[in-house]
Each structure stands twice: as C-alpha cells, then as structure tokens.
C-alpha cells in the first residue's frame, strides 16, 4: 500500500496546498524542538557548572518560547489538517457528483449504495487521513532528517546510532508484515464472518422469536464471541509485534545513546551540554515515525477512500463518451431528414442493442412510435423494458439507431419526458415536484398535467423526504404528472412512461389510458412499458420485447 496516492497530489490543488503548508509547519516544529533541547541542555549543564540567574534567565525564556512555539505549531497542524481534509473532500465530492451525471443509470461496479457510501462515510475517512496520518508523515519526512543532522553535529557517534537504527524500523516492520501477511489476511476474513455473528442474531431476532429459537442464542453469542476473541488475539499477537518493534527500537536507541554518552563523558570526550542535548533530542527523532505507525489505520482507510473515488471517476470516464445512437451515415441522415419533413415525426429504433458487461440486455429491438401514436412495450419483467428506455434517454450506451423526428438522438434529452418505474419524489410540495426543472412554466400547465395524470391531492400539500406521505398510487400519479408537465412545458416530442399503472386500480388505469390518447392526439409520440391489459388495449401498436428478442 502506498502511503500517499500520487493521483491525490496530481489532481487535487487542495491536497498540494495542504502538503506545502504542512511542510512549512514541520520546519517550525523542528526548529522549536532544536531550540528547546538546546536551551534545556545549556541551562542544566550551565547551572550545574555554577551559572547564575542573570545568565540563566534568557535561556529560561527561550525554553518557554520554544515550548509555546511547538504547541502553537501543533495547533496550526490541526487547523491545516482539518481544512485540508474539508477542501479535498469538497473537491472530490464535486468531481464525483459531476461525473455521476454522465452515467445517470449507474456506473458499472458502483451500485447506488456504494456510491452513497463513498460520497458520505467513505470521504469522511479522509478526515483521519489528513488530520492524523499525513501530518505525521510530513513531519517524519521533514523534521526527522533535521533532528538527526543536529544530533550528528552535536555528537557524531549518537548521530550514527540513530542513522543506523531508524531505517531498521521500517525494514523490520516490512519483514514482519511480509512474513505474516498471508496468514493475517486469511485470519481477518474469517474474523469478519465471526464478527457478523452477533449482527445476524440481532437482525434476525424477530424471526428467531417466531420460531421459538431466541432464548438458546445467548449461549451461541458467548461461544461465537469467544471464538472471535481467541482468533483475534492470535492475529493481534502478531500485529502488535510491529508496534513492539517501534517501541523497542526507540527506547533501545535512547539507551544506547545515553550509555555511550555517559562513557565518553567519563573519558572527557564530550561536554555535558552536548550529551544532554542529544539525550533530549533522541526520543523526538522517533516520535513522528511512531505516530505514523499508530495512525496506520487512518491511512489505510483514507487511501482506500481516495482510491475508490478515483476508481469511480475512471469508471465514469471510461464509458463516458457520449452515448450515441450508433453510426448513421450521411446518406441515411438525409433520408431521415426527408422522412422527418414528410411529417413522419416520432421515435424510431432500428436494431437497438444494449450490453451490460458480457450480457446482451436488449437485443436488436425495432420500434416505431409515430407522433400521435401510443405504443405499448410489453414482456416479462427483466426482459429489458427499462433498459430500452435508458438507451433512448442516453443513460446507457446502445448500438443501433435511435432517432427522434428523423434525427439521431445522441443523448439529447431536450424533447423527451420520462417517468421511471419508481416514482422518485422529493421533499417539498406536490406542485414543486411536478414542476421539477421547469419551475417557471405557466401555472395552467401544472393544472393540466395534474388532471391528465389523475392527481387528486392538493398540489400545495408538502411531502417528506423521498416523497413520503403519499400512497404508492398517488406517488405514481404525481410522477406521471411530472413527466407530462415537462412534455407540455417544453413542447416535447416523446413521452416515455415505465409501468405507470402498476399501483393503480382498474378505473384509474382506464383514465390514464384516455389521458395518454389525449397527449398523443396533440402530435406527440407516447411509449409506455406495461404489463397491464388496460394500457395495452389503448395502444395503437404493441411491441413484445420477448418476441422481439426471439
């Protein structure tokens, strides 16, 4: 695993600024540490040697100033880390949201739940990454060499000890990691399953009660948790070894340095001030590296989060070329235009094919919906009705030709109004929901759309998040009204409705059928995916996708 994703630095200006500010703060911190150790060593050695208060006072002041400077630098670190995290998160969030709009029907490999997870708690992992891990990493990179150099100047032998021991730490940790990595991974996998044991029992509690199995679960919880403990401890015994290595190397070098300084002081090869200076500095050399080790978890989460984000950005870009309606030769376009001018407006699909990975979801569909006509698309659930609509909308890539009024659509949605299978309403009034995207349309359009869709609820009634507060049928009718409103407001050519009557009773379904005829009668094409007989009956043409596939 890389400690820092180079893509993050390359792509995010906020991340670059954070690293620069952090580097500067690390310099301040290193300088404060040196000043503190220098003042302390000089003071102690001098006072033992008989220094008087007047000489000691400026050093004492320096001690306090250095301690304060270090504290203030630590405070600034916190600020820089947090605003760095905020900026990078905002930048990534904006990029991800924009990228998602290119693939409204979903990014392959990124189901909605994963996207929501990534945009929320996923990006929040960057807080720990920028707040805890990166500062220590920068501090290690900037301050450690300075402190070692200062030690070297004060006492080359101690400097040598540090230079030898310090690189051993990552080497040992890597060795431990390599030796145990495979075992650890296997262990963690079985641990994840064990740790879900309790969640399963709690989640399935009512089911367990129905079958009279709840009481006996207590013993099982104890057993599973105890096995979880035993296995985790096996893993931890090894995991903690790397912590032990760090601690051990740090305290051993302090001991080595102290003993060697002591012996050379006895011999008179070194001054007390230099010796104390090195002694105070030695643990500080190891501190940032120890903290990097401690913040390892935060780093793993942060790196995963940013890698996920970039993976998704790449995924949207890979398939992000304009989902076109396939190759249409110039000659064909001319023919189309002539056809269009001849009044044969409407939707025309020629041999449309949609692949999802290896699978062909929509296979060679031909469909013609002239202006003024209602076309019903039928077929078993899963036969690709919704995918066909997504292809017309340009939400998924499709092969073949998709033309509206003779022109290849090429993802142009301006003349299309669509209502999907689930109503997908928003918090706000019903009127606001219906006028989505066309807020400035004249109010009589609103009333007409509501009437055509059969909405009999007060349009000023406000809905909760996700449109809560309406029954399924009402929500479905509001969603249909929204599509009709867009169609009217933009004088669109094509109305696409996906299962608009699945939650309606027969009477309302018949009303909807009459409305669709009225809309079509004004010279628009209406395509409705349905499995209900009543809607099939009002259609001029019925396209059975299952047959179309065969």
């Amino acid at each position: 695993m890389k400690p820092l994703d180079p893509r993050l630095v390359r792509r995010s200006g906020a991340a670059r600024r954070f690293l620069l500010a952090g580097g500067a703060l690390a310099l301040v911190q290193a300088a404060a540490m040196l000043a503190f150790a220098g003042a302390l060593a000089t003071l102690v050695a001098g006072l033992i040697d008989g220094m008087r208060m007047p000489q000691a006072a400026p050093l004492l002041t320096m001690l306090i100033v250095a301690a304060s400077a270090r504290a203030i630098a630590a405070w600034l670190w916190e600020l820089v880390g947090s605003s760095g995290a905020m900026r990078v998160k905002a930048q990534l969030r904006a990029e991800l949201l924009t990228a998602l709009e290119r693939r409204p029907a979903g990014v392959p490999g990124f189901p909605t739940a994963r996207v929501a997870m990534l945009l929320g708690p996923g990006l929040d992992a960057l807080d720990g990454y920028f707040g805890t891990y990166l500062p220590q990493l920068v501090l290690t990179a900037v301050a450690t060499p300075i402190l070692i150099t200062a030690t070297w100047i004060a006492d080359p032998l101690s400097g040598l000890v540090l230079v030898i021991v310090l690189p051993l730490i990552p080497v040992f940790m890597a060795l431990i990691g390599m030796a145990t990595g495979a075992v650890q991974r296997r262990q963690w996998e079985s641990l994840a399953a064990l740790s879900r044991g309790f969640l399963e029992v709690v989640g399935g509690l009512s089911t367990l009660i129905v079958y009279g199995r709840a009481e006996r679960q207590t013993k099982r919880i104890r057993a599973v948790t105890d096995e979880y403990r035993a296995r985790t401890m096996k893993v931890l015994r090894i995991t903690f070894l790397s912590g032990f290595t760090l601690e051990f190397a740090a305290s051993l070098s302090v001991a080595l340095v102290a003993v060697s300084i002591g012996l050379r002081l006895v011999a008179g090869d070194l001054t007390l001030a230099a010796g104390l200076f090195v002694l105070v500095l030695a643990p500080e050399v190891f501190l940032p590296l120890r903290n990097v080790g401690a913040a390892f978890h935060a780093s793993a989460e942060g790196v995963t989060a940013s890698a996920d984000a970039f993976e998704m950005l790449d995924a949207t870009e890979e398939s992000g070329e304009q989902p076109a309606s396939g190759a249409t030769s110039d000659a064909a376009s001319d023919r189309d235009r002539q056809a269009g001018s001849a009044g044969a407006g409407g939707l025309e699909l020629v041999d449309v094919r949609v692949r999802r990975g290896e699978r062909v979801v929509v296979d060679g569909v031909h469909l013609e919906a002239r202006a003024g006509r209602v076309v019903a698309v039928t077929g078993e659930s899963g036969v690709g009705k919704s995918t066909l609509f997504a292809a017309i909308l340009g939400f998924v890539d499709a092969e073949g030709e998709i033309r509206l009024d003779g022109r290849p659509l090429g993802g142009d949605r301006s003349g299309i109004a669509w209502a999907g299978q689930s109503p997908t309403l928003f918090a706000g009034s019903i009127a606001e929901n219906v006028r989505l995207g066309d807020e400035s349309a004249p109010p009589d359009l609103l009333w007409r759309a509501l009437r055509l869709a059969g909405v009999d609820v007060d349009p000023e009634r406000s809905l909760g998040p996700g449109g809560a507060g309406l029954s399924g049928g009402q929500a479905q009718r509001v969603a249909t009204a929204r599509a009709i409103h867009r169609l009217l407001a933009r004088d669109g050519r094509l109305l696409l409705l996906d299962e608009p009557s699945s939650a309606l009773d027969a009477e309302r379904e018949a009303e909807l059928g009459r409305s669709l005829r009225e809309v079509a009668g004004e010279g628009r094409a209406v395509v409705v995916a349905t499995h209900r007989r009543a809607l099939v009956e009002v259609a001029d043409t019925v396209v059975d996708l299952a047959v179309a596939h065969a």
Binding site: A94, P104, V202, I209, Y211, V259, V266, W418, L470, S471
Partner: protein
C-alpha cells in the same frame, strides 16, 4: 446519567481479576518510560563529574533495563488489555441480547433497517472500549503520575509542587476545551453531517430523474452548500481540538521550566547535587508524556458513554405496557395438529412509545411522547374459521401490521382474542407462536446456505423434505440452478431477490407446520410485475396443508385466491361499510 445507561456501562467493566494484569503492565510500561529518562539524565550528569566507571554501572544497567521494560511491558499491556476487553465483549453482547428478548421485536428502537442495525451492533461493540481505552489507561496514568510526583517531592518538594500545578492546569484545560468542542460537535456537526448524507443519498438515488429533468446541477449546488457549511463548522471545532492538543504539548515544556526554576535554589544552596538536578529538569518530559493518556481516555469515555446511552435507549429496561408478558399461571394450549378457530372481539392494541415504525419510519404510527396515543387497532371484531383464507387490506396506518403482531403476540391487546376458546393472554406467548406463524414483511435470511435457513424451522427435516417444500413455493428450479441446498443466500439475503426471499421465508414457515399462517405484505419489496404471481403462489402453497391463512397486502389482489376480504380503516373492520378505494400504499 440515567441509571439505565450506568447499568449498561457497568456491564462493560470486567472483574478486577481480568483487568488487573493489563493495569499492572500499563503501570510498569509508563513507569519504565519515566524511569528510563530519569536514569539516563542521572547517568549523563553523573558521568560528567568523571567518577570511576564502576559508580555508573548501576545507572547503565538501569537505563538498559528500563528501555527493554518499556517496550516489553507495553506489548504485554496491549495483549492482556485486548484479551480482557474481548472476554468482556461476550458478556456485554449476551447481556444486551438477554435484555432484548422480552421486549423484541416491537419494544426495540433499533429496527431492521440496515444502517440502524449496524449502528446498534456497533454501539454494543463500542462498549468493549470502556476497559481497554478508558479504565485501564486512566488507572495506569494516575498511578504512575502519583508515584512520579511523589518521587520528585522526595528530591525537591518545590519542583514537585510546580510539576503538579502544571499537570493539573494542563490536563484540566485540555479536558475543558475537549468537552466544549465535543458538545459543539454534537450540537452542530452531527446534524449537518446527517443533512449532508441525506441530501447526497437522495441526490444519488434520484439521479436518473434529476438528469432527465435537467435538475441535477441545482441538486449538486445544494449539496455543495451544505458541504461548505459543514466545513466551516468542522474548522471551528478543529480549532478547539487543536487548542486541546496544543495545551498537552505545552504542558511538558512548561513543566520542565517550572521544575527547573524551582530546583535552582536547592542546587545553589547545595542541598541537591548536579545529577539530581538534571533528573528534576528532564523527568517532567516523560511525566507529561504519561499524562497525555488522560485526555485520550476522556475522549474514548465520551464515545463509549454515548454508545451506552443509545444502547440503553434502544433496549428499554422494563417491558412497556403494550407488550405481552408471560402469564403467572399459563393455561395449556390447544393441540397444534389442527387449525384452531380464532375470535377477536373489541380488540384494541397500540405500539409502545420506545419502538419505531416497522421500517424505521413512523408513518402510520403514533408519535412517541404524544399521549394519549391513538391505538393502532380500535375495537376490531374478526373471526378466522379453521382453514379459511382471508385477505386483510387497508390504507397505510389502518392497523394491518398491528393485527399481524397481535396475532403472534408481539404486541399485547385489550379486549378478547380467543384461540379455540382460550384467551391468548392466558397462554405463554411462545405457545401461541407455535400455533400461529408469521412471514414477515422483510424476512430475515441468515448469511448461510439455503439449507441452514430452512432447517432452523425444523431441525429434523431431511434434504428431500426441504427440496419438496421449496418446490411447493415455486423455488424448485431456482434451487437446482443454484446448485442445490448449499447455495448461499448472502449477507442479509443479498444474493436473492425480494420475491425469492419471501418464498424462502414461506418455505421456512411451512416446514414449521404452523396451523395458522400470517403473511404480512409479502410483496412490499417485490417488482410490481411479479407481485401478482407471487401472491397467488404464496397463498396457494400456504393453504395446501389446510392451514388458516391471513394475507395482508397493499397491492390489489386477485380476490379468487382468498375466501374472504377484510378491509381495515383506523383499526376497525369496515368491510361491511362503503368500500374505500383499495388504494395501494407504499
């Protein structure tokens, strides 16, 4: 802190015997750390006086021993501490679970909705941090600090006093700032974070609609606006949190200066020698490092405490009045081989205030605290003849699910509910549940194979019996395609569709051979185009054993599959009145 939270927290603390090893190792490790610096300072200052090397050997041995001790004891502290806290986790989980059983499922605030469930389980598991990150570090740090300050006071009381003052002021200031920042975070950050997450989820889930209506950019700007409000709040909290960590950083330096300044007169008057003076000057650094554990433990304490509060809130300590309890002298239940006759008279039932809606929402449910709450069932009369198939329909909030939960005794009732003439409240709730089974709206599938998900309904069933019952619910082909009974259903049934989950769950209920079976909204999470077929299959399969079937459904049902239709409205049977439009509900 309410008593219930305190009880939860108490359950998280292991016995002294379990806790002691990690505390002792913690003291040894932090103590070694202080002693290492003291010994090193003494060694160097003493060496500068150029005595014979022999005089230094004790110091040299001490430095090496403490260096080794610090690392080894720390490793042991972590191992024993984690072991103790994991051992306690078994106790915590079992204890919470035992508290849950009498109030489950309808008295529990944590519903099945994934995020709430995850949070509840996370909260229970968070409690193991009480011994590991709170009790043990605080005890170890306080002991080491006391010993260290006491040792310093033997050498120079003035230094000890200065050191103590710095520590108390520094830790006190840190804790105060921390507390202020945490309160602020709870008040402003958490709601903003929730708002941002909700807006993001809504945006992502509705993205196809937003794009199709050219409204995505507006939605994105709204999210960005919430994001920058959150960023501002976070920055001001980071300023406070930074101040706390800065205070702890400064404590070490100031303590050194204070201890040093206090010891100067002693040195000048010759009451202490040079090496002792060096120890007094340097040792505060190590002491401050040990003290840093206290603010960390205090943050951990805050997290654990709010987890304990949520656990205590989610699992009420007392059984609410709306839930059934075992009768003191239970009657003997009717035989389970034939469907009993069921008679409900003037039946009233309500949900407890502590519970949440069946899907985590409160739609159709009385709002907690708004007393008097309207009962969800108000004076219902209903007869179920043996072997009858009855469809119960009605608007959201009409009391359909309440009826199902009363029938299986998840909820208590007033009025009369007789099973073959025996009042249900005189029977053990578990005995009622052997007669009347429920297929829930969201059946829970365990993350095992199909076989395990069926077997717990009847341990002794053979594979042939399992396959036969799967065939009857229309899953015969499916299970063959998936490679038989060993097919995994995935975490929370992730590998099966909503309809398949319902069918598996019905197969399970049929294996248990309930004489009466209640199907609660079996098509709630099923593709509308498949709902009709599913309902027909479920009702047919369930009724084939001659069992009584109560089908609760919001989608229009082909009435040929049932014998009778009951329409509920506001907790009453209105079938005989004017029929309201059978409005499908979400």
């Amino acid at each position: 802190m309410p008593e219930s939270t305190r009880a939860v927290l108490r359950s998280a603390i292991p016995s002294l015997r379990r806790l002691l090893p990690s505390v002792i190792f913690g003291i040894a490790s932090a103590g070694s750390s202080v002693a290492l610096l003291a010994a090193s300072a003494w060694l160097i200052a003493r060496a500068a006086e150029q005595p014979p090397v022999l005089y230094l050997s004790l110091g040299i041995v001490g430095v090496r021993a403490f260096a080794l001790g610090r690392a080894v004891f720390r490793y042991l502290e972590r191992l024993t501490g984690h072991d103790a806290s994991f051992r306690q986790l078994a106790v915590i989980r079992a204890g919470v679970f035992e508290r849950m059983i009498p109030v489950a499922p309808d008295g529990l605030a944590s519903s099945r909705r994934g995020d709430l469930l995850d949070r509840f389980v996370g909260d229970v598991d968070e409690l193991q941090n009480v011994p590991l990150r709170v009790v043990q570090p605080i005890v170890s740090a306080v002991v080491v600090l006391t010993l260290a300050v006491a040792a310093v006071s033997l050498l120079a009381p003035a230094s000890a006093a200065a050191l103590l003052t710095c520590l108390v002021l520094g830790i006190g200031a840190t804790l105060l700032v921390q507390r202020w920042a945490a309160t602020r975070a709870e008040r402003t950050l958490a709601p903003l974070r929730g708002e941002l997450q909700a807006a993001t989820v809504e945006h992502v889930q509705a993205l196809d609609v937003l794009v199709a209506y050219d409204a995505a950019a507006a939605g994105r700007r709204r999210i960005e606006a919430i994001g920058s409000r959150l960023a501002r709040a976070t920055r001001s909290r980071a300023a406070a949190a930074g101040a706390a960590s800065a205070a702890m950083t400064a404590v070490g330096g100031f303590a050194v200066a204070a201890s040093l300044a206090s010891a100067i007169p002693l040195l000048e008057s010759g009451r202490i020698d040079g090496p002792t003076f060096a120890v007094l000057c340097l040792v505060p650094l190590a002491i401050a490092e040990a003290a840093a554990a206290i603010p960390l433990a205090s943050s951990a304490w805050r997290l654990a405490r709010s987890s304990a509060e949520r656990v205590a809130h989610a699992v009420p300590a007392e059984v609410p009045a709306e839930l059934p309890t075992s009768p003191p002298d239970p009657a003997s239940p009717p035989a389970a081989n034939l469907p009993p006759a069921i008679a409900l008279r003037d039946l009233t039932a309500a949900w407890p205030a502590s519970g949440q809606g069946r899907d985590g929402s409160t739609v159709g449910r009385p709002v907690a605290g708004a007393d008097p709450r309207p009962p969800a069932l108000a004076g219902l009369d209903l007869d179920l003849a043996p072997g009858e198939r009855v469809l119960v329909r009605g608007e959201s909030g009409a009391g359909k699910t309440t009826l199902a939960h009363v029938l299986v005794r998840f909820l208590d009732y007033r009025g009369s509910y007789r099973i073959d003439g025996i009042e249900a409240s005189e029977l053990e709730p578990a005995a009622v549940r052997r007669l009347i089974g429920l297929v829930e709206q969201r059946p829970w599938l365990f993350d095992e194979d199909v076989r395990q998900n069926l077997l717990f309904a009847r341990d002794a069933a053979t594979d042939d019996e399992l396959l036969e019952v799967l065939d009857r619910v229309g899953l015969g082909e499916w299970v063959a395609e998936r490679g038989g009974l060993d097919a995994k259903v995935g975490e929370r049934g992730a590998l099966v569709s909503g309809g398949q989950a319902q069918r598996i769950s019905l197969a399970r209920a049929m294996l248990a051979r309930f004489p009466v079976l209640v199907l609660d909204e079996p098509t709630a999470n099923v593709d509308p185009a498949r709902a009709d077929a599913l309902l027909r299959d479920l009702t047919d399969a369930a009724a084939r054993d001659g069992a009584t079937v109560v089908l609760i459904s919001h989608t229009p049902v082909d009435e040929a599959v049932v014998d009778r239709v009951v329409t509920l409205d506001a907790g009453r049977d209105v079938s005989r009145g004017p029929l309201p439009i059978a409005e499908p509900v979400r």
